[in-house]
Symmetry: C2
Subunit: 357 residues, 2 copies
């Protein structure tokens, strides 16, 4: 059984952090005799510079064939003036939709060693452990029609379409109910069913699925209230399931509750468990090339990859334990630095994880 | 000059809190000789129960004629099973759109007396004073087409349309630039211009307006990042301008940063400065009828009404000063109660404000 992982470093700090994750995965591959082989490719701004396209055909073809993808980040001011179809983000969105990676899992976990990094009071966030399940290949991100048109009289109008079918809702709902079942058994579905018809259907399908999962306690919350409750009392949540746009907003808000977004991995899966794994943070162009970025979210994304796409739970746990160990040792990159800790570079952090393995 | 204010208590705690605000406004009307007359009407669930409609024609006709409206809140579980067109929320949305109340002003202010109520660390939120300018009569709330349709093959699909024209963006943009000009001169426009075409147009128009307001510093932020930055470092913001849906989410998130949403008023204005004023919080059906709700957000909404629609700055300031005074006196309703303070009922709080006037 030969399995292949595609590395897509992308832009900004992407190459630096993926390099460290790659070293960790190579080491794990050897020590656990996983038989993984590694390829790498271009996506985002890096691909635009090289080929003119944010998602070159060659990258897409390879992506289709591999078992899993580890992505750094895409985008940056250099490409911000391009028309939307040619921007780095389209590389990411193209991978998501072409591979049908509809299930985006975004944990928001507070590491006890980093509790003080949060802007919230310790008692509000200590022990925080939320899983956000975001639909990733539908909703307003991909809905048609879309564009900017000219109205009679000459003024322009921009428009996008927020759309979900029953089957799209059902498949993301199942992923969320399964996730809740393996956790504390509580699922909160977030919508705006008092205003938007598309989310009336969303709510209806979630209620219908609840019958299949009697062991999971389903609740519903409007998105504005969810944005508030995450600030007020985030520990009330176990698993949250929501659409693409609300998920984009709430998962970033939830991640920031921990104060250490440089620590948070994510997984995007399709129905064959093929997956793309990436840190929750962006390409951070302001600190790119300085060797100070935090590689831990990418390293932990590697662990998620081993768990969800490659079925290598032991190897995943080994990486997570190594990360925990370096935090215990007091090593910190600049973004999570605090008094009394030792500040290290991107590479030093990567080396420390290797040593801890 | 005779000016009329329409009171719409609505549902849940609405009647209790509006009753206190009404007493305060009557007193101010007398002492400042404002010559206001007051009417009241039905909206939301209360109107459904009485007339079958969330926005009876009579209410709408009166609303069109008055100078300003003070609304409590609408909605509750009692009406949650009704089809969308007949729900209490449609009363609120119908008033907003029929009166073209496109400019929603939502301050998020931390009262120094209530600093400890926030779930954020004191240094992160002390002195917080953000103004969110939300577009209120367009965007996905009102976009057509919308609904739930049957696809070929029999499955259903829900859909809504996110749409803005140049002129809609321009008029809310102007309100926001003007607000920034009267504050610290910084305006952050929030969009998702890396994914949604409608917000590409939004960003373009905001950039264009910036030329007319050289004294205001305009920046742009993606909505996911804004949701994060509000948690990480909310004091970086002065005025935020955004569309209806993002504004719904971010204004509630920002309000909750203060920990005392029971204190926050809001204004919804049209181009003639006619306005509807309401507390930021909802109808709180769980505590309705118990006499424990906080009337201060509604009382402060009355102050906003005097300021923005009636041009009575002195009277507005008198109310705000009275509210500050009762907080200094240590009086607190249950939602903002803390050690060492004196807990009072809805009515006692209203009486205390009257006494402080
Ligand atoms: C880069 C952008 C297109 C993307 C998104 O909006 O999905 C990012 O914010 C994310 O959450 O992965
Ligand atoms: C009640 C609801 C329709 C409303 C909205 O979504 O606008 C409320 O949340 C608000 O923010 O005023």
């Amino acid at each position: 059984m030969s399995r292949t992982v595609l590395m897509l470093p992308g832009d900004g700090i992407g190459p630096e952090i993926v390099a460290e994750a790659e070293k960790v995965l190579h080491r794990i591959n050897d020590s656990f005799e996983l038989g993984l082989s590694f390829e790498s490719g271009l996506v985002g701004g890096a691909a635009i510079d090289e080929t003119g396209e944010p998602l070159p055909n060659e990258t897409l073809e390879r992506a289709r064939k591999v078992d899993a993808i580890l992505l750094g980040a895409v985008g940056g001011p250099k490409w911000d003036k391009l028309e939307m179809a040619k921007r780095p983000e389209k590389g990411l969105l193209g991978l998501r939709s072409n591979l049908e990676l509809f299930a985006n899992l975004r944990p928001a976990i507070l590491y006890p060693q980093l509790a003080s990094a949060s802007s919230l009071k310790p008692e509000v966030v200590s022990g925080l452990d939320i899983m956000i399940v975001r639909e990733l290949t539908g909703g307003i991100y991909f809905g048609q029609p879309r564009g900017i048109r000219e109205l009679e009289g000459g003024e322009r109008q921009g428009f996008n379409t927020y759309v979900y079918s029953e089957s799209e809702i059902r498949r993301i709902g199942r992923v969320a109910f399964e996730a809740a079942r393996q956790r504390k058994g509580r699922l909160c579905s977030v919508d705006k069913a008092n205003v938007l018809e598309v989310t009336v259907l969303w709510r209806e399908i979630m209620d219908e699925l609840a019958g299949e999962y009697p062991d999971v306690e389903l609740s519903h919350m409007y998105v504005d209230n969810a944005a508030m409750q995450l600030v007020r009392a985030p520990k009330q949540f176990d698993v949250i399931v929501t659409g693409n746009m609300f998920g984009d907003i709430l998962s970033d808000e939830a991640a920031m509750l921990t104060g250490s977004i440089g620590m948070l991995p994510s997984a995007s899966l399709n129905s064959e468990k093929q997956g793309m794994y990436e840190p929750c943070h962006g390409s951070a162009p302001d600190i790119a090339g300085q060797g100070i970025a935090n590689p831990l979210a990418t390293i932990l994304s590697g662990a998620m990859m081993l768990r969800y796409s490659l079925g290598e739970e032991e190897a995943a746990k080994a990486i997570e334990a190594a990360v925990s160990k370096v935090l215990d040792q007091g090593l910190r990159t600049a973004d999570i630095m605090s008094e009394g800790a030792r500040q290290v570079s991107t590479r030093e952090m990567g080396e420390a994880v290797l040593a801890a393995l």
